[in-house]
Each structure stands twice: as structure tokens, then as C-alpha cells.
């Protein structure tokens, strides 16, 4: 298990959220959408030209930008 940022997690690989390092408002929005400590997340794909990531958390698909995904620290397997 290694700790990486969600933006660095390879597509399709699962990670477990360890910490959300965002300012209060954004952290609350993330939490409401399911980004909570201990939850499993999996980046599905990235849009062209350095566009946003599609991330699956629980059964919900969320799009967020890479720089925002970098605020989420996850445990990656292997």
C-alpha cells in the first residue's frame, strides 16, 4: 500500500481515501458527494487536453479537475 494523490492514481486502479486536504467549502461538497475517509475511489478516464477526471466513488460518477483531485490523498494497492 502506498499513499498517492488521487490525480496520480492510474486509470482503473482502486484507492482508499485517506485524507481530503481542501478548504472547508469544497471539502463539504466533496463529502456530500461521497468523498469520505475510508471510501473506495477509482479514476475511470480523463478528458482530452489535460481535461477533468471521471472518478467513481461508491456507485456515483463524479467529474473533477486534476488539480482538485490532487487534494485527495489515497492509499493505492501494490
Amino acid at each position: 500500500m502506498t499513499m498517492v494523490r488521487l490525480s496520480e492514481l492510474p486509470m482503473g486502479q482502486q484507492g482508499i481515501i485517506e485524507d481530503v486536504d481542501a478548504e472547508e467549502h469544497f471539502r463539504q461538497r466533496l463529502q456530500a458527494l461521497g468523498f469520505r475517509i475510508g471510501k473506495e475511489v477509482r479514476p475511470i478516464r480523463q478528458a482530452l487536453f489535460g481535461g477533468p477526471l471521471q472518478v467513481r466513488v461508491g456507485s456515483v460518477n463524479i467529474m473533477l479537475r486534476r488539480n482538485d483531485a490532487a487534494l485527495i490523498h489515497v492509499w493505492a494497492e501494490g
Binding site: A22, H25, F26, Q28, R29, L30, Q31, A32, L33, G34, R36, I44, R45, Q46, A47, L48, F49, G50, G51, P52, Q54, G58, S59, V60, N61, I62, M63, L64, R65, N67, D68
Partner: protein
């Protein structure tokens, strides 16, 4: 009268549930923040009339988004007798904390598991008894889309309303510290009461997304879909429009022409040549508008809009905007006013103002009818759809260029977080209802401005008495002569100048104004336009119409949404200046090249 408040996250089908429960035609959207105005309806529940209010979608009762504050303010200031909590059964794990939060307010509540049919297909099984005990309120399963489970839900709502007396909501004080405990409890309850299959991986949505969000083909596919939509509107709408014009002309010849002998000349002129011809020319475009909104409703209700935000975000970020800004431009294709109001989902003021600055360049349905009319009159059937598509492309390009120019002053790095909901095939009824709602809005807006506008134009083109109709001696002629030096360099003559003047009020009037100014309607007007203008002039006129201020409603909305007179003034001046400049460049360049 007792009051029920509908609450739930965005994309739970809350609006659909509201429509189904009340029978009203509320706007249904897949985009957070569309139902910004509160919708309410009175229904008969058992023997009593009950008021149902549809509150904006929220993720967290303690959240800080504008919609979440609206909900809190509503609950603090309005007595509510029952909370009806709508939950998306397919995403119950994400939604349960909010449900617990709402149940803890101490108001009588009913939880509704919507999309129960979809959840069942995904293999999600509910123990509603355990769920109800955990939440402390009755739980009903429904499919708002297909109407299953509604009689039972109505019964439950009526029963709970009858049980307890109204609660004083001023005592509502939410406990922020308890949030984390609620979440932990939700997870525990979830584990006890719900079984969710672990992998929802290979469902239909993912298969569609593999194509729709394809890294290379995603964007071209979107533009292809857009082109096909407009092509369909144009090819299907054409014959329908001809039919409508034929009906209107028939009515004029059979029923109205005999009146000429009975009415005084000026009254016949005002009523038939002014009002009827003006309204008729606009009315003949209703089929095109209906088709257009059917297409838009299909796209909006399917869940594709947030995919477009995903695809376009990288490009929009370079312009200081985000994917939502592009979606607002698309919404603006219908009408700029709701698109401007939709920017409320943006928290950063700079980002919001920049988006509001570009939305008015979006080619709305009122401008569409002007273009369809002129393009049909002046271009061959082969070229026509391409010219229309070119105008849409120009609408995007001017919006992008504007954003690029002003992003330094207004742009922002607001974090972007959007749910990509599962694709849903909207039911025919849903799309039809939605399209009807939009067309109704179009017509009511149109009739408000058009009747006054058309009468005004008839007066301007016929006063003072004795002057030749629409001649240089009339008031309109004088206006035209006054604007002439400004508009001559872009190929627009005095008569069309008057038309443009009224187009400032609303683009819906433009065709009616042409009909009155030239004293003709339908095919005859189209033929005359083809003689009066060449294609260069017509395109220059369309370019100007596309870019200058859309209408007074848009200006009023800009003012109320930005709460800044300076910003509103700047937006008007910028779009007018850009319209003139681009038309000038196009017209003079085309003439220099010998066209």
C-alpha cells in the same frame, strides 16, 4: 392549509416526482440549479387541499451552495407540516446521510425511494421496514417516471399529515457537529438494511460513456450530434412551416379579406396588414420552435449535458471558464434568460460574470427563426443548413473570443465538481411536456412583445397621416435616415434599420416588423427580401442580429443577476460594438473580393 416540502439531492427525479404528484408542468432538468425559482402547487390529498413546494436540490443541509442556503432559509421562515424526502434508490448509499439529516429536523417526514424500478434491475434490494425504523419515518417506493407506487405514497402522505399537529419551525437549529456521527450511523444502517451488488461496472451507462466520452471521438461526436439536430430541425421544420403559412394565408384570403369592404381603411390596415400579418409571420415558425425544443429536451433529460461539460472543460479552462459555462451556452440556444439564471450555480463572482458576458452571444430560438426565414429566402436548399451551422459556429467563436479577452479581469479557479448521472431515456410524455412548457413560454413572451411591437411599427410606418406607407416621410423613415450613416457601411438599408431597432426589444418581433415595414407576409415577403438584398447583405444583417443585444428580457436579467448597472451597460456596449465591427469587416471584405 398544510404544506409539504419536497427535498432531495439533484438528479433524484424530484421534479419528475413533483410533476407526477401535482399534475403541474414544472421544468424537468438533469442539471443542478435549474429549478432555481421555487415551484409550488395545490393538490387535493384525501379531503383536504395541501400545498406542495418543490425545494432546490441539495447535497447537504449544512452546505454552503446557494441552493442549500435557499432550502435552509425556506425551512426557517415557512411553516412546513411534512418533509417529503426524495431519494434516488439506485444511489441510496450516497443519499442516506442527507435523509438522516433531514429526518433529524424533528418535522413529520416521509422518505420516498424513487427509481425503485431501476434499482430493482440493478439488483439492489431494500428492507424498507429496517430503513423506516432507522430513519424514524415511513418509506415508500415509487417510479416517478412511470407512475408506479403513487397511490400508496399519496395515502402515506395523507396519513402522516393527519397524525401530528403542525410543528413550529422557528425552533429548527441544525447541529453541525453531529454531521460526522450521522455519516457513521448512515453507513451502519446501510450495512444492516440494504444489499448492493459490489460491481455496477458493466452497465449500459458505462458502455455508452466509452463512446460518448471517448478521448478522441468524444468531441467530434458531440458536434456531429449537434449538426444532425439542427439539420433535422431544418429539414423537418421546412415543410411544416410551409403548411402553417399556407393555413394562415388561406384564413387571411377567405375570412379577413372580405372585411376590407366593411372596415375603414386605416383600421383594416392596422388589424390585418399590421397585426395579423405580423403575428402570422411569427406564428408560421412555431413548428420549427417546437421541433427545436423537442430536441433540446431530449438532450437535457438524457444526462448528456454533464458529459458535454466533461468533454469541453479543458478548452473552457483555457478561456477562464469551466465546463458548466459551455453548457450554459447550449442552454442559451433555447433562450438566454434561463441560461443567465443558471449561472447561479457558480460561486465565484468573476467566473459568473464572465459566463454571463458570453451567454448573450448564444444563438437563441428567437434569433433562429429570423435566420431560418432569411436563409430560406436567400440561399439554395443545399447551402441553407451550412449557413445556419456557420452562424452557430460564429456564435461559439465570438463567445470564446470574448471570454479570452476578459478572462484576466474575471476568470477564476473555482473547483469544479459535477456528478455524471446515469443515462436515462426520457419518456415521451416527459419530453413532450417539457417542449410544450418551453413553447408556451416562447409564445407568451412573443405575444407580449409582438402585439405591442407590431402595432407600434405599423404606426411608425404610417404616421404622420398622408405619408406613403413606410416611405421616407414617415416616422420610421426618419429613424431609418438617422441611423443610415451608421448602418450603410455594413450593408443595411433604412428599412432594415427600423427592423433592427425593434429587434432590440425582442428578436421575436423582427419578422413581424419586416412584414409590417414591407407590407407583405409569408412567401411574398421572402421573395421581396431576395430581391432587396443579396446574400452578402443578408449575411451581414444576420451577423449583426446574432451579436447585438438579444432582447430587453436578457438585459433585465443581466441587470438583476449581476446586480451591477456598470456590468450590464458594458455587456450591451461590447455586444453592439462587436456586432458592428464584425459585420463591417465581413461586408467590406466580401465587397472588396467582388461578391
Amino acid at each position: 392549509m398544510k404544506r409539504i416540502a419536497l427535498l432531495g439531492m439533484p438528479n433524484t427525479g424530484k421534479s419528475t416526482f413533483f410533476n407526477r404528484l401535482t399534475g403541474a408542468s414544472a421544468r424537468i432538468g438533469n442539471w443542478p440549479g435549474i429549478t432555481v425559482d421555487l415551484l409550488g402547487a395545490k393538490i387535493l390529498l384525501g379531503a383536504d387541499m395541501v400545498e406542495v413546494v418543490d425545494l432546490p436540490g441539495l447535497y447537504d443541509l449544512h452546505g454552503f451552495a446557494e441552493d442549500e442556503q435557499v432550502v435552509r432559509r425556506f425551512l426557517q421562515n415557512n411553516p412546513v407540516d411534512l418533509l417529503c424526502i426524495i431519494l434516488n434508490a439506485t444511489q441510496i448509499d450516497q443519499q442516506l446521510p442527507l435523509a438522516l439529516q433531514l429526518c433529524r429536523l424533528g418535522l413529520p417526514a416521509v422518505a420516498v425511494l424513487n427509481m425503485a424500478d431501476e434499482a430493482e434491475r440493478l439488483g439492489i434490494r431494500f428492507d424498507t421496514g429496517v430503513l423506516a425504523a432507522g430513519l424514524g419515518c415511513p418509506v415508500c417506493s415509487v417510479s416517478a417516471k412511470y407512475g408506479q407506487g403513487f397511490p400508496e405514497t399519496r395515502d402515506t402522505l395523507r396519513r402522516v399529515l393527519g397524525q401530528r399537529p403542525s410543528t413550529d419551525t422557528r425552533a429548527l437549529q441544525a447541529d453541525f457537529a453531529a454531521d460526522e456521527a450521522l455519516i457513521a450511523e448512515a453507513e451502519k444502517l446501510l450495512a444492516r438494511s440494504v444489499t448492493i451488488p459490489r460491481v455496477l461496472e458493466y452497465d449500459l451507462t458505462e458502455r455508452v460513456d466509452r463512446i460518448a466520452l471517448h478521448p478522441i471521438f468524444g468531441i467530434p461526436l458531440f458536434f456531429l450530434a449537434l449538426f444532425l439536430l439542427f439539420q433535422a430541425v431544418y429539414t423537418l421544420g421546412g415543410p411544416l412551416q410551409d403548411g402553417m403559412a399556407w393555413l394562415l394565408e388561406g384564413f387571411r384570403d377567405r375570412a379577413l379579406a372580405p372585411l376590407q369592404a366593411l372596415l375603414p381603411g386605416w383600421l383594416y390596415g392596422l388589424l390585418v396588414e399590421g397585426l395579423y400579418d405580423g403575428l402570422g409571420t411569427v406564428a408560421s415558425f412555431v413548428p420549427v420552435i417546437v421541433l427545436f425544443f423537442l430536441g433540446m429536451a431530449l438532450v437535457e433529460d438524457s444526462g448528456y449535458l454533464s458529459r458535454i461539460a466533461f468533454l469541453m472543460d479543458a478548452l473552457m479552462a483555457k478561456l477562464g471558464l469551466d465546463g458548466r459555462g459551455f453548457v450554459m451556452l447550449l442552454m442559451g440556444f433555447g433562450c438566454n434568460v434561463p441560461a443567465l439564471m443558471g449561472t447561479r450555480v457558480m460561486r465565484s463572482r468573476g467566473l459568473r460574470l464572465l459566463t454571463m458576458l458570453i451567454v448573450p452571444f448564444s444563438l437563441c430560438s428567437a434569433r433562429l427563426q429570423v435566420f431560418v426565414f432569411l436563409i430560406t429566402a436567400l440561399f439554395s436548399p443545399v447551402h441553407a443548413p451550412l449557413v445556419l451551422f456557420a452562424l452557430y459556429v460564429l456564435s461559439f467563436l465570438t463567445a470564446f473570443a470574448t471570454a479570452l479577452l476578459f478572462k484576466r479581469r474575471l476568470g477564476s479557479n473555482e473547483p469544479l465538481l459535477i456528478e455524471l448521472p446515469p443515462y436515462r431515456l426520457p419518456t415521451f410524455k416527459q419530453v413532450a411536456l417539457r417542449a410544450w412548457h418551453e413553447v408556451y413560454h416562447f409564445l407568451s413572451r412573443a405575444s407580449r412583445f409582438i402585439i405591442a411591437g407590431v402595432v407600434m411599427i405599423w404606426l411608425l410606418t404610417h404616421l404622420p397621416p398622408g405619408a406613403a406607407a413606410a416611405g421616407p416621410d414617415t416616422l420610421a423613415g426618419m429613424f431609418g435616415a438617422w441611423l443610415e450613416p451608421l448602418l450603410r457601411p455594413i450593408g443595411i438599408d433604412e428599412r432594415m434599420a427600423v427592423v433592427l431597432l425593434f429587434g432590440f426589444v425582442a428578436k421575436e418581433i423582427v419578422l413581424g416588423a419586416m412584414a409590417v415595414v414591407y407590407g407583405l407576409e409569408g412567401d411574398a415577403l421572402a421573395q421581396l427580401m431576395a430581391q432587396q438584398m443579396d446574400w452578402v447583405q443578408a449575411f451581414s444583417f444576420m451577423l449583426f442580429t446574432l451579436l447585438y443585444t438579444p432582447c430587453l428580457s436578457t438585459v433585465a436579467t443581466l441587470r438583476s443577476e449581476s446586480r451591477s448597472l456598470a456590468f450590464t451597460g458594458f455587456s450591451i456596449v461590447w455586444s453592439l460594438g462587436l456586432a458592428w465591427l464584425l459585420s463591417f469587416i465581413f461586408y467590406q471584405a466580401a465587397r472588396l473580393l467582388g461578391f
